[in-house]
């Protein structure tokens, strides 16, 4: 009788090789980051407010950019956008890296802030320091 697939030992060996290869593929694909997005609308209240925050990432991830829609912002109003990063586990908490003040009309109305890779925590905050409080839609992209 002709053996199409070989004897049992050969089949077992091939199966084990296949399982090993699948495990290797799985290990590689599990590490492929997924580009993800979230967002919402923050309504300012005069205090410094977290807009986007990932306070304790599982590990290294890649925040890419933060976008905020300032269409509702009018002349005579001021906001401050700040980015914070934590560079080690535990205390101290996130440290200010960048602060930008936008006074008066903002043009173009959509602001984009580049973000850096991170392992221990990142946040973007907004603070309204002059004028009426407004609603600011925002979104953030990150790979993790």
């Amino acid at each position: 009788m002709t053996k199409i697939f070989g004897d049992e030992a050969e089949i077992l060996e091939n199966t084990n090789t296949l399982i090993t290869n699948l495990a290797l593929v799985s290990a590689v694909t599990a590490g492929i980051p997924t580009l993800t997005e979230t967002g919402g609308t923050v309504t300012t209240d005069g205090t410094e407010q977290d807009v986007y925050i990932n306070a304790t990432p599982l590990g290294i991830f890649n925040p890419i950019c933060f976008k905020i829609n300032c269409s509702a912002h009018t002349a005579g109003e001021t906001i401050i956008l700040r980015t914070y990063y934590q560079e080690a586990a535990g205390v101290p908490a996130r440290i200010l890296q960048n602060e930008t003040t936008y006074a008066g009309l903002i043009s173009p109305e959509l602001l984009s802030i580049d973000l850096d890779p991170n392992r221990f925590g990142v946040s973007v905050t907004i603070e309204k320091t002059a004028g009426a409080n407004r609603a600011y839609p925002w979104e953030v992209f990150y790979e993790m």
């Binding site: 492929i32 980051p33 580009l35 979230t38 967002g39 919402g40 925050i53 306070a55 304790t56 979104e139």
Partner: protein
């Protein structure tokens, strides 16, 4: 390094809610689905580190802790027709009402759907509400959802008149109303609630909870299993 895209992953097809709970602090948590549903956390400090460093919510009746999101922002979760699916990691605690709401968008005996844990017998039940009272309720339940300190992934796919529950990615015996599940009746006035009754005054979820999700399609058994396999390490 190549990357993939959230919306391109087959598991995320028709996903309508994905509270991944990455914030780990604060009083709001954001949705990674296109709906951008923002859930507000009530009742003080809620965040709790999971075994692998991820964060979940530690809800408790005594602290009146729960989440909600406005009805206007959650109409994608009406599920008044067609199939849908739910998934959420749970670890129920030992202080509770007999019935603890996991999540829902409903008004009892009027409209909507609710998913709840029944403490004395460790059941999880999905219930569809209809105007006209309890006689028109339909639902499905499964058992053995123990309160033993272990995290478990609850999954559910509603498929026409029936439904299948999954525990840790494996199908479990699911008892449905003999006449079949009716579509939940609804209108747009109910907030999404997580960990509390629709009236927001009782039936608190007491225990831990992580990453509630919803899809407007029936996930396959393979997909439920894939979710468990890809996330179980967070809880080990």
């Amino acid at each position: 390094m190549p990357s993939t895209y959230y919306d391109s992953l087959p598991i995320n097809t028709d996903i309508q809610l994905d509270l991944s709970m990455l914030e780990a602090t604060g009083s709001i948590t954001h949705d990674e689905s296109k709906n951008h549903i923002v859930a507000t956390l009530h009742g003080g400090i809620l965040w709790d580190a999971l075994a692998a460093g991820h964060y979940g919510l530690n809800l408790h009746e005594l602290m009146s802790r729960y989440l909600d999101a406005p009805s206007a922002d959650t109409t994608a979760l009406n599920f008044t027709s067609g199939d849908y699916s739910l998934a959420v990691w749970i670890n129920p605690g030992f202080w509770s009402d007999d019935s603890m709401i996991i999540m829902g968008r409903y008004a009892v005996d009027v409209r909507g759907w609710e998913l709840y844990y029944y403490d004395p017998t460790n059941l999880i039940t999905l219930r569809h509400h209809h105007a006209g009272g309890a006689t028109n309720r339909t639902g499905c339940y499964s058992g053995d959802w123990l309160r033993d300190g272990e995290w478990r992934l609850f999954g559910l796919s509603r498929i026409g008149g029936t439904a299948q529950h999954y525990m840790n990615g494996q199908p479990v015996t699911t008892i449905c109303t003999a006449s079949g599940l009716l579509d939940p009746a609804t209108d747009a006035v109910d907030d999404l609630v997580i960990g509390i009754r629709f009236t927001k005054d009782s039936n608190y979820w007491t225990g831990h909870l992580h990453r509630p999700r919803a899809w407007s399609r029936a996930l396959t058994a393979t997909e439920h299993y894939a979710i468990y396999e890809s996330e179980k390490e967070w809880f080990e």
